[in-house]
């Protein structure tokens, strides 16, 4: 009897399914215990200090003012401060994504250029940027370049552009009475130009005629607003130049030095990585494709634009997503050079409110959301770009 039982037990424990289920349950149990221990530890520590895990402190008056981006007054709430942080971060991340893609694409193509000087200059840029820490680059750009510009009193004026260590100013367009009419006409022109472009493009594909879609669409796009501008009695927009009043410039559009330094730093750093990704993507397209395109009589630009780049996108996009996420996360280095992004403001909030756990949780949730959104968007693009299965 006993022998049979033990044999059955042995057989039971040597069963693959049993082992698998037992192993997984043990792991889940261990993970649950670990998490429970962490939470318990946190609760004990909070109890000992008489703190609670409530987010209601976000409604309290912040007491500090923010003068960057949308800004806020001293009497507004911590929640408002958090919102300003999110907006400031989005501002630099979105602009950064667009610019870094452009820089990366251009530099990537240049890395393969037959021009020796161009190729090697870009190679130096890529290697220097990729192999030094971003924080060091940001300090260099902020303290070593931007802050060494002259003061407001001795500002550099390049035509309408004003450069100083307090910021970069350009004239601000101010809408005048006729602006609504002009804007409406221009909007119509955009739609019409789009229609003309697609119809002419389609006709060319169908019949092979030379229809010049870009030329026609461009003519409408520029011609209509220009004509409207000239016909209207007043110019629909005038430019407001910044002027120095007391200690600050009044009017015009200002690019804050901290924002400028952070944006340039992020764009140049991430752009170097993207350049190498683009270079690798182009090299991944079989050489035969290029030769075939050339033998069809396409110009070098057309070979690149119509044959090589679309195919390299499949290789480029997955690592590109990583670089986009890096840019979004690296934007939190803003705190080092005084740009009040989400992380910098969160740090102020938890120093002033003492609610570190909640603020960090909120901060992580926000960055996670931002990263997942970028990731989702890029995955969608990736699916669109993928070669249809054959």
């Amino acid at each position: 009897m006993e022998g049979r039982l033990s044999r059955r037990l042995i057989r039971f424990f040597r069963d693959d399914r049993v082992l698998r289920i037992a192993g997984q349950s043990a792991f889940v149990l261990a993970a649950a215990v670990f998490v429970a221990w962490l939470v318990g530890n946190l609760n004990d520590a909070l109890d000992a200090r008489g703190l609670t895990l409530s987010f209601s402190f976000l409604q309290r008056t912040a007491g500090f003012a923010i003068t960057q981006g949308p800004g806020m007054a001293r009497t507004e709430s911590f929640w408002r401060a958090y919102q300003v942080g999110v907006l400031n971060s989005l501002n630099v991340v979105l602009a950064g994504l667009v610019l870094t893609t452009l820089i990366g694409l251009l530099a990537g193509v240049a890395l393969l250029s037959p021009n020796w000087l161009l190729r090697n200059t870009v190679r130096v840029y890529v290697e220097v940027m990729r192999n030094t820490p971003l924080l060091v680059q940001l300090f260099f750009i902020y303290f070593g370049v931007v802050l060494t510009l002259p003061s407001l009193q001795d500002r550099i004026e390049l035509g309408p552009l004003i450069l100083s260590q307090r910021g970069v100013w350009v004239p601000r367009p101010v809408p005048q009475p006729g602006f609504a009419v002009w804007a409406m006409l221009s909007a119509v022109a955009v739609v019409v130009a789009g229609l003309i472009y697609t119809r002419r493009q389609r006709r060319r594909r169908r019949t092979g005629e030379v229809t010049r879609p870009a030329l026609w669409a461009g003519a409408v796009l520029i011609g209509v607003p220009l004509a409207a501008w000239l016909v209207l009695p007043h110019a629909p927009l005038t430019l407001e130049n910044p002027t120095l009043e007391g200690l600050r410039m009044v009017g015009g559009l200002r690019l804050a030095p901290e924002y400028f330094a952070l944006l340039v730093g992020l764009v140049l750093y991430t752009g170097a990585f993207i350049a190498d990704i683009v270079r690798a993507g182009i090299l991944a397209v079989p050489h035969g494709q290029r030769e075939a395109a050339r033998s069809l009589g396409l110009s070098e630009t057309s070979v690149m634009r119509l044959v090589v780049l679309p195919q390299s996108m499949r290789v480029v996009i997955p690592p590109l997503i990583n670089q986009y996420l890096n840019l979004a996360k690296n934007s939190s280095l803003a705190i080092g050079i005084g740009y009040l992004d989400l992380y910098a403001i969160s740090q102020i909030i938890f120093n002033q409110s003492g609610q570190a756990v909640q603020v960090i949780a909120l901060l992580m949730a926000t960055y996670l959301t931002l990263s997942l959104l970028i990731s989702m968007l890029m995955n969608w693009v990736n699916r669109r770009m993928a070669t249809p299965g054959r």
């Binding site: 009043e245 005084g338 102020i348």
Partner: protein, 372 residues
């Protein structure tokens, strides 16, 4: 669970300290008469025990060295000099205390503590006393289990500006950009003050002191705000210190002084009266140079006689040598000399005359109760 463990640890440490005690505690029994309002006179005998000696003082004496929690990065107050020695205004108070206890100003170990860990260091007995530009506030005094000694420096938030900017007061600074350290009370005081004055400003908020002064030095800001004591120190690090002035206005109250763990009043008395001795010495004109001569010359002033241990048992009552004040003054000089050495024109140059840090007899707030 955690709390009980902590109490056990405290009890164990207490036992350890008690074992070091050389003498029996003096127990004084007092008769307290309570008169109730209902015209019934009730006599209650309440035995009140005064522990006339300090466990902490005994522990320090047994150890042979004082452990002082200090700053190592504020020029003038507590920093490391070129030879790696701790020097500064706060440091000299540590040395004065060591001189009072051991007659030797070098019998002190300096423990560098950050702003965040300084109170924990006191609570866990890591350090005997904290002299690290620490502001006396309600919550620190009441909630954190710490006690504050006499204020040694009346600090307050100030504003540094360029000499050629033409600013003479905060009211001139409408529209200015101000550099400020992130997440500090300084940031809140700045918002409050400028709001109260109805002034518009831009804040450049940076996360380290170095970055803040670098941005100010580069001209990114019109003003740099911090505690006045720190501003004076920061100014010495700027490219051209003479080009900058600290405005006279003070935006907050920051009384700085020595701090010890709550619960050992006798130890607190030692710290308090060493500081008071330095102040009285300045009042009476007793200096590092003349203290020995003064003591030997049989002075007439009764308070000087009591201070220097010629008359009375004041040192013995504290648990120290009768003439400990002579050792203290010999080691570091009087309050005014300490100030002059570190914060005077030769140091970080924080003007004293006409400010709260002048002696009370000169219109300031530096004042010690009588030595009797």
């Amino acid at each position: 669970m955690n709390r009980s463990r902590m109490w056990m640890a405290v009890a164990l440490i207490g036992l350890g300290l008690a074992a070091c005690q050389p003498a029996e505690p003096v127990i004084v029994t007092q008769e307290v008469r309570v008169v109730e309002t209902q015209e019934v006179e009730v006599q209650v005998q309440v035995p009140v025990e005064f522990r006339m000696e300090s466990e902490r003082l005994a522990a320090v004496m047994a150890r042979g060295r004082l452990i002082c929690g200090v700053n190592t990065s504020v020029p003038g107050f507590g920093y490391l000099d070129a030879d790696g020695q701790n020097v500064g205004f706060d440091i000299d108070f540590c040395r004065a205390l060591a001189a009072a206890i051991f007659g030797d100003p070098t019998a002190v170990d300096f423990r560098a503590v950050t702003a965040a860990e300084r109170f924990t260091a006191l609570q866990t007995n890591e350090i005997d006393v904290l002299i690290r530009n620490t502001t006396w506030t309600f919550s620190r005094d009441v909630e954190l289990g710490t006690d504050f000694g006499p204020t040694t420096f009346y600090d307050g938030q100030g504003m540094m500006v360029r000499r050629d900017s033409g600013f003479t007061s905060l009211a001139d600074m409408d529209g200015a950009t101000i550099c400020v350290l992130a997440g500090t009370t300084t940031e809140l005081n700045l918002a409050d003050t400028f709001n109260a004055l109805g002034l518009d400003y831009d804040a450049l908020v940076l996360d380290t002191g170095d970055a803040t002064s670098a941005a100010y030095d580069a001209g990114r800001c019109d003003g740099l705000t911090s505690d006045r004591s720190q501003l004076a120190g920061l100014r010495t690090g700027l490219a051209n210190p003479a080009d900058h002035v600290i405005l006279l206005e003070v935006m907050s109250k920051e009384p700085l002084g020595p701090v010890w763990a709550h619960g050992d009043q006798q130890w607190g008395d030692v710290v308090t009266w060493v500081v008071n001795a330095l102040i009285i010495a300045e009042e009476k004109g007793i200096t590092q140079a003349n203290v020995e001569a003064t003591a030997a010359s049989d002075p007439q002033d009764p308070e000087v006689r009591r201070l220097l241990g010629i008359e009375g048992e004041f040192g013995t009552i504290l648990g120290l040598e009768p003439d400990f004040v002579i050792d203290v003054i010999l080691a570091v000089g009087n309050y005014g000399e300490i100030y002059e050495r570190h914060l005077g024109p030769a140091g970080t140059d924080i003007p004293r005359a006409g400010t709260l840090n002048a002696l009370w007899s000169d219109g300031g707030l530096i004042y010690a109760p009588p030595w009797r």
